[in-house]
C-alpha cells in the first residue's frame, strides 16, 4: 500500500518535467533528431531540451544514438519503457481535454 506511494513517485519523477511528457508524445510519432524535436516544440529552449532529454535517457525512457560524423547527427528513440508509457500519456491528454473544457464552461 505504501509501496504504491513509492511507485507513483517513480512515475511522477519521470513524467513531471515541464516538457518531458511533450517530448515523449512527439517521439511516439517516430524517432527524431535533436533539431527536429526542437523545431516541433518551438517554446522549449535549447539547453532545457538537452537537460530533459538527458533525464529521460537516464530514466531509461529513450535511447540516444550518436552518429560519429560531421556534422553531428543524433537520433532519439523510445525504449520499450517509453512505449509502455503511451497509454498513460494518452489518458493524460484525454483527461486534460475534458478538464479544461470544464474549467472554461464553469
Amino acid at each position: 500500500m505504501d509501496q504504491d506511494l513509492e511507485n507513483i513517485k517513480v512515475t511522477l519523477d519521470v513524467v513531471c518535467g515541464k516538457w518531458k511528457a511533450v517530448i515523449l508524445l512527439k517521439l511516439y510519432e517516430g524517432n527524431l533528431r535533436f533539431g527536429e524535436i526542437k523545431r516541433s516544440i518551438p517554446l522549449i529552449k535549447h539547453q532545457t531540451l538537452i537537460k530533459q532529454l538527458k533525464e529521460l535517457e537516464q530514466d531509461g525512457l529513450l535511447t540516444k544514438t550518436t552518429y560519429p560524423d560531421v556534422p553531428p547527427k543524433v537520433e532519439y528513440s523510445l525504449t520499450e519503457y517509453g512505449r509502455h508509457l503511451k497509454p498513460l500519456l494518452d489518458m493524460m491528454v484525454e483527461w486534460g481535454e475534458v478538464h479544461s473544457d470544464q474549467k472554461t464552461t464553469s
Copy 2:
C-alpha cells in the same frame, strides 16, 4: 495536435505536486478529515498538506466540507473529476512498479 500539448499540461499541473497524487490515492479509499490524511502520510508537513489540498480544491478535484463546530471538523472528498483520475493514477502506480523493478534489476 498542439492542443494535445496544452491538454497534457493541464493534467500535469493537477497531478505533479509532490504529494498530490498521493493525497488523491488516499481519498479513493473514502472521505477523510484533515488529520486523517496527515496521519496517513507521515512525511508530509502540515503546511504543505494545506497548500496541496487547496490547489487540488481549486483545480476542482476535491471538495472541502467544513462543519462549523468546535472543534473544527473538515472533510475532504473527491469530485467526479477526481474520480475520473483514478484509472490514470492506477496506471502510474503500476508503471512505477515495473519501472522501479527494472532499475534495481539493471
